[in-house]
Amino acid sequence: MPRNHMLEINNLHARIGDATILNGVTLSIGAGEVHAIMGPNGSGKSTLAQVIAGHSDYEVVDGSVSFFGEDMLQLEPEERAQRGFFLGFQYPVEIAGVNNAYLLKAALNAKRSYLGETEVDAFEFLKLAKEKMKLLDMDPSFLNRGVNEGFSGGEKKRNEILQMAVLEPNLAFLDETDSGLDIDALKSVANGVNALRSKERAIVLVTHYQRLLDYIKPDFVHVLSNGKIVRSGDYMLAEELENKGYDWLREVSTG
């Protein structure tokens, strides 16, 4: 028997329209672990994150995903979130007029209500949100703005991490959280992520570059190519990729 993993992805195949993007991804993620999924553009990294989050544009044609032993593919996106899954978007969506504070509070209470906990009131929520914002060097005025509305690239990414910090998920997939960040923003995002590392929680960093991994050191590194994991290793693999690029692995996958 393998050890009991939080997330088990087995032989996952998925397509969008006629294009098959995932060609049999198998991956196990356990509590307390930090994984990095790396790979060239178009290798299927973001698709994997979107499929696990439940985006209806993608059709799963084979394979399975279980989350705490439950068939995740049968769940609606909100049910996955309420059970402790979080996706940090590569391109966070701007939603004009929907207040950031409203979303954070509604999201937190949706999860609490699923867990049978009492909902937080406005006062408790504000205290919690301000505490988490401090961690990310975010101005409290962000709470009163529309969700990502008019945010810079860096502000959007911080906002994703803020949501994660407030929701305290069991498993977070952070899709290209480092892209478009200057070094200061990268550091505060990394601080936010590191503050959430714990033995109950798993974090998956989906990234093209090794840069983020200098600040958030993963326990495991996987390389995705043509919709399949072609190599797994420890942090050393990330360094190897930084030096050699992805081409030598592409050979492996096609050869």
């Binding site: 989050a53 439940g54 985006h55 209806s56 609606e76 996106p77 909100e78 996955r80 979130a81 309420q82 979080f86 996706l87 978007f89 966070p92 969506v93 939603i95 004009a96 007029g97 929907v98 409203y102 979303l103 509604a106 999201a107 949706a110 999860k111 699923y114 529309g146 969700v147 949501q163 929701l167």
Partner: protein
């Protein structure tokens, strides 16, 4: 059904049966004109998309069955929620707090005054309205007075009769330098078929300021038509916010004449429709002098098989130089079966004007919906949040007040219905 199926003979007999009053001359003239014009049909350009057949059917039945059954007034929430000087029209019968009017406000009954000639009979719905009036109200806000307490106009239908048609007329004169806030609530309950046809005439003297919020949230088997005719004087300003949430068939005509320099009007509207509802908003602003200013923003959210019409026309007349007119209409369709016909129109006969118009029809942003759901909000809640944000652009133009909160709660309730899963 077309206009010829409406029995004019029965109509003229009913008009004749109404007791004589100071209104008689106006009523008989209006009846004669309506005898010629009849109800508008879809052959009229302004009525292309809106068929008044349900209104005509109820009107016809109502004329034949003049006997009204026992009437019971159902509770109306707005009276308890918004503190105002309430002028009520219950099934067409009015009542107002004669001894508790705010200083500067007077109310006259036109049936016993010499002012009947102010009654507008320019189009056929105004004609039938005038012809069947037993009485009408004239509200005056005295010069220089700022009225702190809003004036409330409540049109409430409670009828259990099989068919009832009600015609009500209010004339509001706001004298120079006066300022007032008005909430009109058109609400209905009761099992009977009801057709309500209201006409409001607003006269703003120089430098008068009126903030007018109108809510139409009738029962979904009722039919309503409404016409607002506003004349705006120099440096006077009208802000009109229209919320249409209810009725099987609702048609609103807003006609504003900017008669003097620096007159200005803001027309904002929100319509929320589902099921088989049909909501038609026609607005017309005449810039008769310049510079004068109009801005208009209507937004609509449609679900089910509902159909909405927006027609906003701004006419800049010769000599109205320096005029600024902007119109926009934005629609959100939540269903493939809903339909909106939108037509912002500009007619310009002056030079040196700044005019713009635009219209959009779109669907709920699927990416936004998915994003909210990945945060744990269920589909209904996520849809509610996005549609509420869309509606907020209009709701939030009401200043913080009991009126704002009341409208918000009505809009929220309707959005709940619109975004419910079984739609």
């Amino acid at each position: 059904m077309t206009t010829h199926e409406f029995d004019q003979a029965v109509f003229q007999k009913c008009v004749a049966s109404i007791p004589d009053s100071a209104l008689s001359a106006v009523r008989h003239a209006a009846a004669a004109e309506f005898g010629q014009s009849g109800f508008p049909t879809t052959r009229h350009e302004d009525w292309r998309y809106t068929n008044l057949a349900p209104a005509i059917a109820i009107q016809q039945k109502s004329l034949l069955e003049r006997e009204r059954g026992d009437r019971q007034l159902n509770p109306v929430d707005v009276i308890d929620i918004v503190e105002a000087c309430w002028i009520r029209f219950d099934d067409g019968e009015f009542s107002f707090p004669l001894n508790d009017l705010p200083p500067g406000v007077t109310i006259n009954r036109l049936a016993d005054s010499e002012q009947a000639s102010v009654i507008d009979v320019k189009n056929s719905l105004s004609q039938i309205n005038a012809a069947l009036l037993r009485d009408a109200l004239h509200v005056t806000i005295a010069a220089g007075v700022t009225i702190d307490r809003p004036i409330g106009l409540l049109f409430a239908e409670h009828s259990e009769s099989p068919a009832l048609a009600n015609h009500a007329r209010v004339i509001i004169s706001v004298e120079k330098d006066a300022s007032v806030q008005i909430l009109e609530a058109q609400l209905s309950s009761g099992g009977g078929d009801v057709y309500i046809n209201t006409v409001t005439q607003l006269l703003l003297a120089n430098n008068a300021n009126v903030n007018y919020v109108r809510l139409q949230d009738c029962a979904d088997h009722h039919v309503q038509t409404n016409r607002l005719i506003a004349n705006i004087g120099s440096r006077a300003k009208l802000t009109h916010l229209a919320f249409d949430l209810g009725a099987q068939l609702a048609r609103n005509d807003v006609e504003v004449a900017l008669n003097d320099s620096d007159a200005s009007v803001t027309l904002n509207g929100l319509y929320l429709a589902d099921g088989a509802q049909h909501i038609d908003n026609h607005t017309r602003v005449d810039h008769a002098a310049g510079p004068s200013f109009s801005e208009e923003l209507y937004r609509g959210i449609l679900n089910g098989k509902s159909r909405c019409v927006f027609n906003g026309k701004a006419v800049v007349h010769e000599g109205a130089d320096g005029t600024d007119a902007a119109q926009a209409n934005h629609n959100l369709l939540l269903s493939d079966d809903a339909e909106v016909d939108t037509k912002p129109e500009l007619e310009i006969y002056a030079d040196d004007v700044k005019c713009s118009h635009g219209a959009t029809v779109g669907q709920l942003d699927a990416n936004a919906l998915f994003y909210l759901r990945t945060r744990g909000l269920d589909e209904e809640t996520a849809k509610h949040a996005i549609t509420k944000a869309f509606a907020a652009e209009i709701v939030e133009t009401i200043a913080p007040s009991q009126i704002h909160d009341y409208i918000q709660s009505r809009v929220d309730a309707k959005l709940d219905q619109l975004t419910a899963k079984n739609q």
